[in-house]
């Protein structure tokens, strides 16, 4: 019998529906992979093998009874530990939420269970989704399943913040996982691990029940092994939710049914500002490959300009910390999570001690930056200025999309790096998201698809950015690249 863990979302769903295997067999196979890899990769904060089996049994029973099956029926998935899951610990990889068991289910996870998916466990991430290497988790680093081809065994970063998600999908611990993207947290880890991930238009997926980082940027999306699987899972995740005031009141298109890699008549923009001095040679080559592939698919490739690109990252590092400092004010040791109450201390001391003990260094750094840029006397100079620059960045995209249908760029400036290589310099770490952040600031759909391997044998991703609401255009360009990149490399199992 074939190894069921080599199958993706569509193959599992269709195989279960056809009776080629049962959902329980699939769940058992992935549960075994999860358990075998946990010590080496640390991709999960908690595993929930029983939940996966229970969901699978329900799907098998529905099939036996002849009931209609959902879009994700029989597909076990990993859930980023930023989504509230009823009765299952939800931590955002922080100490301050250790032991927190939500009394309710996030909208996105509820929709996935409704569609027949089951939960293998809660995936590790950067603490409060703040990081690009998964090194800020209170529950330890996630180790990428990938290694350099130099014969060494340097532990590499799976990217972040959705690093547990990317490592788990790449290592065949789950066929797909949820991610969230605030400034690249789906696309950058997907690129680092040779998988596919899409951040939809801001508002497509409900934020209700997702631990908030920067509310004007946070957006959930799927991470899986190919474009089709992402399209299917996004259909299950997206949709209007009255409980999220920024949710888009639009029908969910049938993206997977309308996939087409035929790009004749489409125009692809190549932003000249992304071709920065000193761009990594392998990354530059993969970009050129992508251009050739899209031309081969029938697209016309044109040069475009996004003049404010260089200001996106500094604007992001004002706006995101500002929103975070406000959102994270809720962790006060009163309503949920950790409480540190030193002897004889009052309420204010309790707040300060709780937050000192409960937040990691990067989270504190961002709360401090956010508090400063919002403080009296500095608000206009920093925050208002950043929001004006954000308007200009969004306008750059509006103008570019008058000339083209999608934009092609690298996902990241380099391939994955070794754990510990970047942590001492926060700014160097931030620069990892230089190509990902502009689309986040503009709320645009954007995805990363694997393009090939660099000289060290590590995956590189190509990023496609689309017009608002045009996930279909993004997915189609992704499909055209996927068909031509023929990326079949996978991390050799060492764990």
């Amino acid at each position: 019998m074939t190894d069921l863990t080599n199958l993706g979302v569509a193959a599992i769903r269709d195989g279960v529906a056809a009776g080629s295997f049962t959902a329980v067999e699939v769940a058992e196979a992935f549960n075994a992979n999860v358990a075998a890899a946990q010590e080496a990769l640390n991709a999960f904060i908690v595993t929930t093998p029983e939940a996966a089996i229970t969901a699978a049994k329900a799907v098998d029973a529905d099939r036996a009874a002849g009931k209609p099956l959902g879009k994700m029926a029989g597909v076990p998935i990993g859930m980023k530990d930023l989504f509230a899951t009823q009765g299952v610990q939800t931590t955002a990889a922080s100490h301050i939420l250790e032991g927190f068991k939500p009394q309710y289910e996030s909208t996105v996870s509820a929709k996935l269970w409704q569609a027949g998916a089951g939960m293998l466990g809660k995936l590790n991430l950067d603490q409060f989704a703040m990081g690009s290497s998964n090194e800020t988790s209170y529950f330890g680093n996630v180790i990428s399943p990938w290694r350099r081809n130099d014969g060494g065994n340097v532990a590499l970063a799976p990217g972040g913040s959705s690093g547990g998600s990317s490592a788990a999908v790449a290592a065949r611990l789950c066929p797909a996982a949820t991610g969230t993207d605030t400034g690249g947290s789906i696309r950058q880890p997907a690129a680092f691990t040779g998988i596919t991930g899409i951040k939809p238009t801001y508002g497509r997926c409900s934020r209700w029940g997702i631990v908030a980082f920067a509310s004007s940027l946070d957006q959930a999306g799927p991470m899986a092994r190919d474009v089709t699987d992402c399209a299917i899972m996004l259909e299950a995740m997206a949709g209007f939710d009255p409980k999220d005031s920024t949710s888009l009141d639009l029908p969910v298109p049938e993206w997977s049914a309308n996939l087409s890699g035929d790009l004749r008549g489409k125009k692809v923009g190549i932003p000249r500002e992304y071709r920065v001095d000193g761009l990594d040679a392998d990354v530059a080559k993969s970009w050129d490959d992508g251009i050739a592939w899209l031309k081969d698919a029938g697209a016309e490739v044109i040069d475009i300009s996004l003049p404010h690109t260089k200001y996106a990252l500094p604007a992001y590092y004002i706006i995101a910390p500002a929103e975070a400092s406000s959102n994270l004010a809720r962790y006060d040791g009163v309503r949920y999570g950790l409480r540190d109450l030193p002897d004889g201390s009052g309420l204010q001391d309790m707040y300060a001690a709780t937050r000192a003990a409960g937040f990691g260094a990067e989270v504190k750094r961002r709360i401090m930056i956010g508090t400063y840029v919002l403080s009296a006397g500095f608000y206009d100079a920093y925050y208002t200025q950043a929001q004006k620059v954000r308007t200009l960045i969004a306008r750059d995209f509006v103008r570019a999309f008058e000339l083209c249908d999608v934009i092609l760029a690298p996902t990241t400036p380099t391939a994955s790096f070794g754990l510990g290589e970047m942590v001492s310099d926060p700014l160097a770490m931030y620069l990892n998201d230089v190509f990902a952040v502009p689309a986040s600031l503009a709320g645009l759909p954007a995805m990363s698809v694997p393009a090939g391997l660099n000289a060290q044998g590590l995956p590189l991703g190509l990023q496609i950015v689309g017009k608002p609401f045009d996930e279909q255009g993004v997915l189609n360009a992704g499909l055209a690249i996927e068909a031509r990149a023929a990326f079949t490399a996978r991390a050799e199992r060492w764990w």
Binding site: K101, L341, G346, T371, Y372
Partner: protein, 100 residues
């Protein structure tokens, strides 16, 4: 603009994060590095540009003024609300004494 130790201490107090002297000293150069880098936004000409308020056009919805319109968020769920509290007593959140 750059920050000194006293300013960082004030920010920490505003953010309700207890910070030791040693942590303060370490944070000053880190925060100054980040602030110096974001300063470059000052060179952008934003004359006549409105600050972004909504990234994707949307409208604010009002729900019907009905009690418990959505049972999940409508109220009457005291025990669920208190279930994760570090100190819940008599149906309330417990906190240290705030008035003498």
């Amino acid at each position: 603009m750059s920050v000194d130790t006293a300013t960082v201490a004030k920010i920490a107090a505003l953010a309700r994060i207890k910070v030791s002297e040693a942590e303060l000293e370490a944070m000053v150069p880190e925060l100054n590095g980040i602030l110096a880098w974001v300063e470059q936004l000052g060179e952008v000409d934003v004359t006549g540009v409105e600050p972004m308020t909504a990234v994707i056009e949307n409208h604010l919805r009002l729900r019907d003024d009905v009690v418990d319109a959505d049972p999940l968020t409508g109220g009457g769920r005291r025990d669920a609300v208190l279930a994760n509290a570090p100190a819940a007593e008599h149906g309330f959140f417990g906190v240290p004494k705030v008035i003498e």
